[in-house]
Each structure stands twice: as structure tokens, then as C-alpha cells.
């Protein structure tokens, strides 16, 4: 790692992970001087069971809790404005987001609205200046988390808000909530987090602080994703994956290397395909290119992927090749376990031709658009185009 050029790093959230993590919430909130939480969630997306578990965790605290459980996939600033009024009227003092994706995006913008004390949430835009830390904000990811919950980004109606202050102050990972009902959800989240951290990990400008998160996330996903997808009793494994997914939010907020992430975003915003699916399929062409540019960076992947013993046993010249082989094995294992539930090419994803055109239009606007196109072409994009 080259430190000469200097760097900055920040990870504002505290992580509480494990058995009965939810039950610590009353004490954690008191520590933030917060006593009346408003839970933002969705019956449809997070499920009534998760909401019940969270509310039960407040048992014996004597607290009053607000629950807004109507967030939908199509939520926009109007919804935020609606909740803002509820927040003010009910005199809530902390926001708890339960779930993943859009739920947390809504909660982040809500936090922005109530902390900046705007008169109407619909005035907010990505250009809104965010100087100071916002109010207390807790994120409780479920298995449907995408990794962006813990990041500095919030996306609402296609607008991307960016600020480290949007990141939560506390992330609670409880095995009762992070356990996935189906392997597909875990695999999507796992692939998304894996690709994002992997790209940061092999970046030439990485710093040791971000690296600590990336290393841990990569190893957790490599060691646990397959069994989390495969096994029925996968509490421990899916908690490990959820940890990695949460860490990936910190990683993506501390790096400029986010090609795979951006590709995932384009597909998510245009055709509502989970970014994990796109990132998963693009991993191989992307890594092939990196290998041609600088194989030593790929070689460094062998340590988090294969572990200490295998890494040390392999002579330097063979590491990059071994890392790629290990990666192939890893994604093959996941795809095989899912028996076709996750598409492996753009063609399999069934994206219509006219939508692909929109996607290419957006990609072309990116500074490295020409390159990104070649990646998409190699995972089946070209066949659709033709």
C-alpha cells in the first residue's frame, strides 16, 4: 500500500451485530438522547414478522414507538414529505429504518428533511448543502439489504443524494432479521457487496483503513455466501453475509473505484434488475481486464479469498491465476445452488431490446462509458443489441 500521497477515511456508523442485538436498542437510543423512535419500514418489503420482532425488542422499556410501514418500491419525495409531517406531529426524536433498499433511501432523505428543518421535503435535491451531521439515525438491515443502506448515497426517483452525513450512526444486525427466506435474496446482496468491495480492494490508491473493511467483507462473503444460499439453517452464515454487506457500504463510500457499482446502478434504475445480478455477471470480464493491466493486484485477492494457508503455499507467480480460479469456483457454486434463479447473462435476464438502448445511452455518458460497454457486451449485451 502506498501512503505517500495521503488519504482520508471515515466510517461514521457503529455496528452492533449478533444475538439479541435488537434488545440493546432502548439503551443505545438513550445514549443518543433519543426516546421516541419512528420506525420506517414496509409490510410488503420487510414483512410483518420482522416488524413484530423489532417492536417486541422494545418490551419492558416503557417507550412509545411510531411505525410507518407503508413504504413501497415507488416511494418518492411526496412520501418523505408525508412522513416528515408525521415525524414532527408525533414529536419523534430518532429514525429507525427497518429493511433494505428504498426503505432506507426514504429514511435517509427523511432524516435530511427533519434535521435541516426544511418546510417541505419536496424542496430537497441532490444540490442541497449538507454541512453538519444530521439527527440520530439507525439502520436495521434485513436480508433484503443491498449494501447501499450503510453508504453515503441515497437514491430517490432516480436522483442521487451524496453525503457522508446520510450514513447511519448505528447499524444493528440481528440474526432473526438477516436470515433470508430464499437463497436468491442472499446471493443478490452478497454479489453486490462482493463486487463493490473487490473493486476497492484491488484499487491502486486504497488505504489501510478502508482495506480493513474490504478484507473482512471479502473473506466473510467467500467463506459464507455459498452455505448461506444453500442451507436451510443458515442463521450464522447469513449474519456473516449481512455483516459483509453492511461493511461494503462503508467501503463504497470511501473509494473512487466503483465501475461495477455504477453498472449495477444503471440497470437497477432503468430496468429494476438487482445490482447484485449485474455485478455478479460482470465480475469475470472485469477481472480479466484487470489481470491484463496489473496481475499483482489480482494476486493480492488470493489472501482474503483463499485464506492464509493457501496464499502462503502458492508462489507469487501463481497467485493471480489462483485467485481467478477461486473466484470462478465461488460464483459457480452460487449459480449452481440457485439452479437458474439468478440470470448469468444479460440475455438470461430477459431485458428488452428497446430498454437496452436506454441503458447504453446512459452508459455512454459515463466518462469511462466506452469501456463499460465492452464489459456489458461480453456478458451478453451484444447479442441483444444485434
Amino acid at each position: 500500500m502506498n501512503l505517500t500521497n495521503g488519504f482520508a477515511f471515515t466510517c461514521p456508523f457503529k455496528t452492533n451485530s449478533g444475538n439479541k442485538a435488537l434488545e440493546h436498542l432502548p439503551v443505545e437510543l438513550a445514549g443518543l438522547n433519543a426516546f421516541k423512535p419512528l420506525i420506517i419500514t414496509s409490510r410488503e418489503l420487510a414483512g410483518p414478522k420482522a416488524i413484530g420482532t423489532l417492536i417486541n425488542a422494545f418490551g419492558d422499556s416503557g417507550m412509545t414507538i411510531g411505525v410507518f410501514d407503508d413504504v413501497t418500491e415507488t416511494a418518492d419525495l411526496n412520501v418523505v414529505e408525508q412522513i416528515r409531517e408525521i415525524f414532527l406531529k408525533g414529536q419523534y426524536d430518532v429514525i429507525i429504518a427497518l429493511g433494505g433498499g428504498i426503505i432506507v433511501d426514504v429514511a435517509k432523505i427523511l432524516n435530511l428533511a427533519v434535521s435541516l428543518k426544511v418546510a417541505d421535503a419536496r424542496q430537497l435535491s441532490p444540490a442541497t448543502a449538507i454541512r453538519d451531521p444530521l439527527g440520530p439515525f439507525v439502520v436495521i438491515p434485513t436480508a433484503a439489504a443491498t449494501g447501499m443502506e450503510t453508504s453515503k448515497y441515497a437514491v430517490l426517483s432516480g436522483k442521487i443524494f451524496t453525503s457522508v452525513h446520510l450514513m447511519p450512526g448505528l447499524v444493528v444486525l440481528d440474526p432473526r432479521l438477516t436470515r433470508a427466506k430464499d437463497g436468491k435474496t442472499v446471493a443478490e446482496a452478497g454479489f453486490a457487496a462482493f463486487g463493490r468491495t473487490l473493486e476497492a480492494y484491488i484499487a491502486p490508491d486504497k488505504n489501510p483503513f478502508m482495506d480493513a473493511y474490504a478484507f473482512t467483507a471479502l473473506r466473510f462473503i467467500r467463506e459464507n455466501l455459498a452455505s448461506a444460499v444453500n442451507k436451510r439453517c443458515n442463521k450464522k452464515e447469513s449474519l456473516a453475509v449481512a455483516n459483509a454487506v453492511a461493511m461494503s457500504g462503508c467501503v463504497i463510500s470511501n473509494t473512487d473505484q466503483n465501475m461495477l457499482h455504477r453498472l449495477g446502478q444503471v440497470f437497477q434504475n432503468t430496468v429494476h434488475v438487482h445490482p447484485g445480478i449485474i455485478i455478479g455477471m460482470c465480475l469475470h470480464p472485469f477481472l480479466d481486464d484487470c489481470m491484463k493491466k496489473d496481475s499483482s493486484r489480482i494476486a493480492s485477492l488470493l489472501l482474503p479469498l483463499a485464506g492464509d494457508d493457501k496464499y502462503a503455499a502458492m508462489p507469487e507467480a501463481g497467485r493471480a491465476g489462483d485467485a481467478l480460479r477461486d473466484l470462478c469456483e465461488f460464483s459457480y457454486e452460487i449459480y449452481r445452488a440457485l439452479k437458474g434463479k439468478i440470470p448469468r447473462t444479460i440475455t438470461e435476464a430477459g431485458i428488452q431490446q428497446y430498454l437496452m438502448k436506454d441503458i447504453f445511452d446512459i452508459i455512454n455518458q459515463e466518462p469511462d462509458g466506452a469501456y463499460l460497454r465492452t464489459v456489458i457486451d461480453r456478458v451478453g449485451g451484444s447479442s441483444i443489441k444485434a
Binding site: L3, F7, C11, P12, G18, N33, D211, Y213, D308, Y311
Partner: protein, 415 residues
Amino acid sequence: MILPDYYEFCCRVKIVAGHDALEKIPALLAEMGSKKPLIITDKGVAAAGLVDIVVNALKEGVTIGGVADNVPPDSDLKVVNQLAGLYRDNACDAIIAVGGGSVMDTAKGVNIVVSENATDLMAFSGAGALNRRLKTLVAVPTTAGTGSEVTLVAVIKDHEKHLKMAFTSYFLLPSVSILDSRMTMTMPPFITAMTGMDALSHAVEGYYCLQKNPLSDAHSLAAVNMIHQYLPSVTKNPADKDGRLAMAVSACLAGISFSNSMVGIVHNLGHATGSVCGVPHGICMAILLPYGLEYNMHKRGETIAELLLPMAGEEVYRKTPKAERAEKVVSLIRQMNQDLNEITGGRHARYFSEVKDRDGKQMVPREILPEIAKAALLDGATIYNPEDQDYEENLLVLEAAWEGKPLDRNKIKKG
């Protein structure tokens, strides 16, 4: 990688590092809405010209609200109150702490007083007493060791009432830590050596103690790797800029690790030795570290063995049979002490019997060891140590560390 049944991890401090990191302070202050910082430091730091470097770096866009260089080596409630007064009189809106552990402690104390408008600091000790954000605190460490730029603890002493107050809160974490190679450039070799070993003790104890978790582990591994690589060379070549920066970064990594996973017997006995005999903390850490590993070996052998790869690299790791890796880690740390001893012309002590004060007098006479063993029973670090400790065992370790011979592990009681 092990995921504990439950863990918590937090380091909210923004880290800014580089050869010119100080120059970024004005922009960072502006980002946080602060314009007029009070600089808190001590006489030693000021005399070494470090405050001048900081002041120069602040030229653009910042009004300095005063430079207070009267922090004593041992934090003092009176000084905290006096500096809080200065902060208020000069209408400051941020604090820049430039120094080592006691400067950081003092700055954290001042921050409580000015942020909470407190008259009695005591009211804010104890768990949960602080529950909102304090004023902007920028930490500029001048030693690569204590890690106090990223810890959530402040210890303030009331010398009149003979009280030691400990404050623990995530709100005490500095807003930003600045790791700039210029701040450690002038550290003499033997101080470089002992502060570096202090950092190593944080990284290593953080890795084997009970509260370890995946993130503290990753920070420890990175720190162990860099300290082993850079500490001897920086001690030898004090002007090695990149080495200095690497040491500052690794001390910070180690600080993040141990403030989340806590420390054990090495710190427990080290604190006791420090308070009974006045031996500098870093020396205690350097001497006791191999013994802490040996003491916990029967419970944490595999964990300790995992340190070998980041420490010594692939070749040594591969050549050392699995069963001997943990012991190899211990011998490598002993070797580091030996090398540092040679580089510093004997000033870096390897055993307690070698520790001498300025007049060449032995600081830890053998007959005082029982007193240290007893004092250690009152130190909290024991809670996080994997194996239990009692008086006899404390004495056993101290005696071995005094003579400089390996610990007789058969004498440790096993449950």
C-alpha cells in the same frame, strides 16, 4: 474469519493522513462550521517546534483562538478548567489537540466542559452521562503509539482530592485525526522504539483478547504487518518520511483495534508497573508483550499463530510448522526488542531489570514485584484477558519479565 455471537464496533473518527495532512485542517474545520480553534499542547511538543508547524499549516482561513502549552505530563482537572476558561474567553469554536496521551485526555476533558457548559466535570463521568455531540475536536498525535487520537476514553486527575476520573463515551472520539509524518519526525530513537512497541501491544492484545471481532481483527492484522516492517527501520533512520507516516498510520489502526476489542494482561501488569515504579508505559508494553502471549497461549494458540503471516510474511509462515507458529510470533517480538535494544545503544530495555532512570538507577527493583502483582489486581484490563489471573500468577509473569527468561507455562493454573 470468526464472527462472534455478538459484537460491537465503532470508530467514527475521520482519519486524514499524509505528508501534508496538516494543511487540510482549515478545509476540514470549515466543513464542520468551525473558524476559531484553540490549540492545546504541552511544553515538550511546543519546544520541539511541532506547534509552529501546525500554526503555519493553519495560515489560510483560520483564526487561531490561542495556543495553550501548559498541559502537564499527568492530566489535571485544574488545567482542564483553566483551558476551558481560555476557550470561552477567546470565543473559540473548536479544539486542536497536538501531543500525546495526556494532551488528548486534557483536550477531551476541556471539550466536555465547554460543550456541556459544565462547572463540575465529575458529573459527566460514568456510563451514559454524555449523550450528545461535543464541539469539534481535531487530534494531531505527535507520537506513533498511544492511539488516543481514536479512543473514546479520557482520564482526568483531580490532584487536590486525589481522584482519578475516567470518562468513556463515543462522543469523546475526536471529530478528525490528522496523521502527518512531520509530527513524529523529530522523535528520538528510543522514544520511537517504545511508542512503536506500545502500538504493537495494542494490535496484538486487541487480536487475542476476549472482545475481539472481525473488524478489530482486520485493523490489528494491518497494524502488526506495518509495525513489524517499519519500526526497526524508522528507529534506525529517524528521517525516513514514509516510514514515519507508516508508523503513524499503524499506531492509529492499532488504536482503533484495541479501543474496540480492549486489552488484557500486558496492559494490566503494565499499568500496575507504571503506577508503582513510574516506568514509561511504552517500555512496560515492550517488555511484557511476549509474556502476555505466552500466558494466554494455551487458550489462544491458534489465534496468536494467525499473526505470523502479517508479521513475518509468506516464507517464514510456510516454513514454520503449524504447531510452532504461535511460539514463532513470540520469538519474533522478542527479536524486535533485541534489535531495538541494539539500535538504541541499549536504551530500549528488554527486561525490567534493565530499566534505568536518568541517573542510571534501577527503576524496578526485584523486591517491588509483589507490590506490582498486588496493584494489578485492581486494574480493569484483566477482565478482557482470555485467561484468569491471580496474585501468584501476576508475580510469576513479572519475575520472568524481570529476569528476561521465557515464562514457565506449566505454572499457570488451568481450569
